[in-house]
Every structure is written in structure tokens, then in C-alpha cells.
């Protein structure tokens, strides 16, 4: 279609008389929005959509903020509980008692082997004498009755090991433990397996529950947001239909709504995360002020910066995807 020119004459006082001929004459095309101006145009339209229905959009942003608060809050609790439980359960001390008749040379070689073992954080050898001295120290003033035992010490020599946090799995079959169990120099290996196994199981179950809950929370959020955005778009359905009837492409209609969704997601996420940060600071302060909780709980940590950005990005994605889903059914005119 030939474009009309820009300079238009004033219309004739007599309606329709020669006006169109003058208006439509000429070949120079009308100036079009191009390049970065097009981006600015879409951004402005996206903001216009938000401003056009302030109440509906405020509800969407508030829903988004609450959803992100709940989601990120859940993640924060999960992260800290995981840290507390894992921290308590993964410092693994192992004591391996050495047979009395084990040759010293072989014992020392095995110690070196243990020290190099990847699952072992530290290993030390306690001779029979060291064991007796330690026992004596533990008894303090009452240790004098052990005097007679110097020549016939009944306490065995041992290895004391600290394992890496992830060395022991649920079955208690870590490589370092296997190595000790299978060694002929040793009489007995003690590592509190029952407690370790239980705590590991609890951590694992808690993690699985956490992942499932996160998934459910996320699904509920997407459903809520999509429905809230759908209400906003529903109120604009006539406008969308008319846009299509005068030749607007799907993209032309979608992009501003997509950007509105991005804005809603971004604002909602930032508000939700700021609220969570404030709530976290409050709880942390309360814990620090409480004698009981302060002593029982280790330091609590807020979400890491990359995770905060990831959650904000998630809000943006939910907002924009929600917009596109909600818009879909109104585009079939």
C-alpha cells in the first residue's frame, strides 16, 4: 500500500470535498518507528498496560510478592535447616582399636595409608601408653589407682580418625570405614554408626520433602499468577479484539503484555525478597537476643546473592510466561 505523506492540509470546511484527495496525495511514506525507538515504544506500551488498570495490576504484583516471599522463605528455611542438620551429622569421628600383637611397622604403614585416603580428614595414632595417659588425665585426682598398670597396660593402641562430611552414606559403607573393617591389624572399629545413619536418613528425607514442597509451591504460584494476569487481560479483551481487526500482528499485541508481565514479575520479586530480608533480619535479631535459642542454634544465613538473582529471574519468567498463557485464548479473533 502506498503511504500517505506527512504534510497534510487543513480540511476543507465542506466535509469530504476534496479533502481525502489532498490527504492521500503524494508518495513519501510516513515516518515509522524503528530500531531502539521500537523497543522504547514497546516498553512504554508495557508500562501503559500497568497504568491503565492500576488496581488489577497492583493485585498481580502483590500476589507475586507474596508468592515469592513464600517460595524464597521456604527455600531459606530449607537451606538453614539443612545446614544445621548436616553440620551436626557429618563430623564423623572413628576410633579403630589395634590388636596387641600387630607389628609396629605395619601399623605405621597403615597409618600413612589412612592419612592419604581421600575420605579421611585427619588420622592420628594413639599408642597403648598414650591411651593410658589420656585415661589417667580424664580421671584426674582419682587416676592414682592406675599406677600399677604401667607394666601391664590393658588398654589397646588405636587410630583416631575424622572423616570428610560426605564420606559416610546412609548404609554406613564409606570407603574409609570399609578399609578399616577389612584390615587384619584391627580389633574393632567404633563410629557410632546407628546415630550417623539415622541423622543421614533424616537429612535425606528432609531434602526430598523440601524438593517436593518447592515444586508444589512453585506450581501453585504459577497457577495463581496466571489467573491474576488472566483477569487483567480479560478486562482488555475488547481492545485486543479491535487491535486484531485493524491489522495488529500477534507479536505487536503480545510484546507489550509480555513486558508488562516482566515488570510485574520484577517488581513482585524485588518486593517479596525485600520483605523476606526484613523478616530474616528480625528473626535473626530475636534468635541472637534469646539466651536459649542463641546458644542452641548456629548462625543463620540469608540466601546467597546468586540465588537471590535466580529467584528474581524466576519471578520475571513466571510473570512473562503467565502473561503469554493468559493472552493466548484472547488472540483467536
Amino acid at each position: 500500500m502506498t503511504e500517505e505523506r506527512v504534510n497534510i492540509p487543513e480540511p476543507s470546511p465542506e466535509i469530504g470535498a476534496g479533502f481525502l484527495a489532498e490527504l492521500w496525495r503524494g508518495d513519501s511514506p510516513l515516518p515509522r518507528i524503528q530500531g531502539y525507538q521500537l523497543l522504547l515504544y514497546y516498553l512504554r506500551k508495557g508500562l501503559d498496560n500497568l497504568i491503565a488498570l492500576p488496581m488489577s495490576n497492583a493485585i498481580t504484583v502483590i500476589t507475586m510478592a507474596i508468592s515469592i516471599f513464600v517460595f524464597a522463605g521456604f527455600l531459606l528455611i530449607l537451606q538453614n535447616v539443612d545446614r544445621i542438620v548436616s553440620g551436626a551429622g557429618t563430623t564423623l569421628y572413628v576410633t579403630a582399636f589395634i590388636k596387641d600383637d600387630a607389628p609396629d611397622k605395619e601399623v605405621m604403614t597403615f597409618l600413612q595409608e589412612l592419612e592419604k585416603s581421600p575420605g579421611v580428614k585427619s588420622a592420628r595414632y594413639l599408642s597403648k601408653g598414650d591411651a593410658l595417659n589420656m585415661f589417667r588425665q580424664e580421671l584426674g585426682a582419682r587416676g592414682s589407682f592406675l599406677r600399677g598398670l604401667d607394666d601391664s597396660n590393658p588398654l589397646p593402641a588405636s587410630f583416631e580418625l575424622i572423616l570428610q562430611p560426605d564420606e559416610l552414606n546412609i548404609g554406613g559403607t564409606g570407603k574409609a570405614i570399609d578399609k578399616l573393617r577389612n584390615n587384619g591389624l584391627l580389633e574393632e572399629v567404633i563410629y557410632g554408626s546407628e546415630w550417623v545413619e539415622k541423622s543421614q536418613s533424616v537429612i535425606q528425607i528432609f531434602r526430598y520433602l523440601g524438593y517436593v514442597s518447592l515444586f508444589v509451591v512453585l506450581a501453585v504460584i504459577i497457577f495463581l499468577i496466571a489467573n491474576t494476569i488472566k483477569l487483567v487481560i480479560y478486562s482488555l479483551r475488547d481492545e485486543i479484539a479491535i487491535m486484531q481487526l485493524v491489522g495488529a500482528t500477534d507479536g505487536f499485541i503480545r510484546i507489550p503484555f509480555l513486558l508488562s508481565g516482566v515488570f510485574q514479575g520484577l517488581i513482585g520479586s524485588v518486593v517479596g525478597l525485600l520483605l523476606l530480608r526484613a523478616a530474616f533480619a528480625f528473626v535473626n535479631q530475636e534468635v541472637a537476643n534469646s539466651t536459649l535459642l542463641g546458644a542452641a542454634l548456629p548462625e543463620l544465613f540469608f540466601l546467597s546473592l546468586p540465588l537471590v538473582f535466580l529467584i528474581a529471574a524466576l519471578g520475571v519468567v513466571i510473570g512473562s510466561v503467565g502473561s503469554l498463557f493468559a493472552l493466548g485464548r484472547f488472540l483467536n479473533v
Binding site: 500517505e4 469530504g16 470535498a17 510516513l30 487491535m243 485493524v246 491489522g247 500482528t249
Partner: protein, 230 residues
Amino acid sequence: MNAEREIINFYHVDKVYPPNQTALRGIDFKVNRGEFIFIAGASGAGKSTLLKLLFAQERASRGQVVVGGRNLTTISRQGIARLRRSVGVIFQDYKLLMTRPVIDNVAFTLEVLGVRKRERQQLAFKMLAAVGLKEKVNAFPATLSGGEQQRVAIARALVNRPQLILADEPTGNLDPDMTSAVFNLLLEASRCGSTILVASHNLQLIEELNKRTLVLDRGRLIGDFSNPRG
């Protein structure tokens, strides 16, 4: 050669609305570029459906509708958008954006074409002045009378120099003076090269203007008069 002159081609077109309501049956006609055509018939004859087929608001149930070389039976969504940008439609129910001022309603067609704001506002203003609404540019449609709303719809349909103008009872709510002014505009658009199809049951007006007239009766094309008065 003929294909270049022709802008509309209906081949054995039927339109059946679900479940089984036949709106048009066996429609055949051609329209050349720049023609001014009336579509006459009583209410329910199929006039509005025929117009809707021409800008792909409805699809033919059988047969083929070709507009400006585009087969609307197989046209894509993108193709429909392109087609509609070259067609100005004056809807019977106006279809105005009630939340936007009058000038934005008219400028909207140019906005869809990507025309810059300043130019589209200028053009929209001139067009509104041409239909006698210079004083109402900032009013909202809800505050206008039916006739004024109809004129806004006319201004919107004409503002981007469409190749094809489809008007469904465009003067139904206008007084005789304004009716005459609007038809002057449409005739002028025709003289400028646009093809005009006007659905109307105003036989007096049809006779007065003496243009080619297609007569519909209960979905059938029962007459194609190139000179109704003669």
C-alpha cells in the same frame, strides 16, 4: 491482466454457522479496483457475513474468497494481519476503544502500522476534522452520540488510505446532512483509487447514488445491477 484489475473474487462461496445455519450459499462475483458497490438486502440476508468474509473475520465454509490476490481460505494469521492493514472497516457496532479518547481511536490504525506518534496524531486530527469532530478529539467515545461514534469509526477506517473500504450500514445513525457528507467522503475515496463495498438497506440512497449493487436474499445473490436506476 484481469487478475491485476480484480481486487475481490468470490468463487461458489457458502457460509454455514454452527450448528446448521446457512448465511450465504453459492455466492459468485468479482469486483475491480476502484469500484463503488452497494450490497443490498433485508436484515438477515447475509450482507454483514459477506463483509466479514472479506477481511477474514469469518472463513468460508465452502468455495474460495480471494482479496487483493490473497486466498482467504488458506491465509495464515500473519497474512490476515497484513490484509487487515490494507482494509478499512466501518463496523455496524463501531467497535471503538471506550477507554481511549477519540483521537487515539483514529490514530490506532496508524499505530498498528508503526507510524510515529506525532504524524499519526496529526493525521488523526485532520481525519476527525473531515468528519466534523474537530471539537471532540479529546472526548471519550462513551460521551458521544451514536452518530458521532459512527463518524469516529468512519475516520478510523479511512485514515490509512486503505485499498479496500468495507462499510456495514455506515450511515444508520446519521442525519441526512451527515449521511451526505459521509458518502461524499466514500465517493472521494473511490475516486482516489480505493474500492468501496457498502452494505445498506437504504434503497433511496442506493438509487440516488446509482452505483453497482449486489442484492442478497436469504443468503443467495439474486441480482448484480451495474446501474440500479437504469
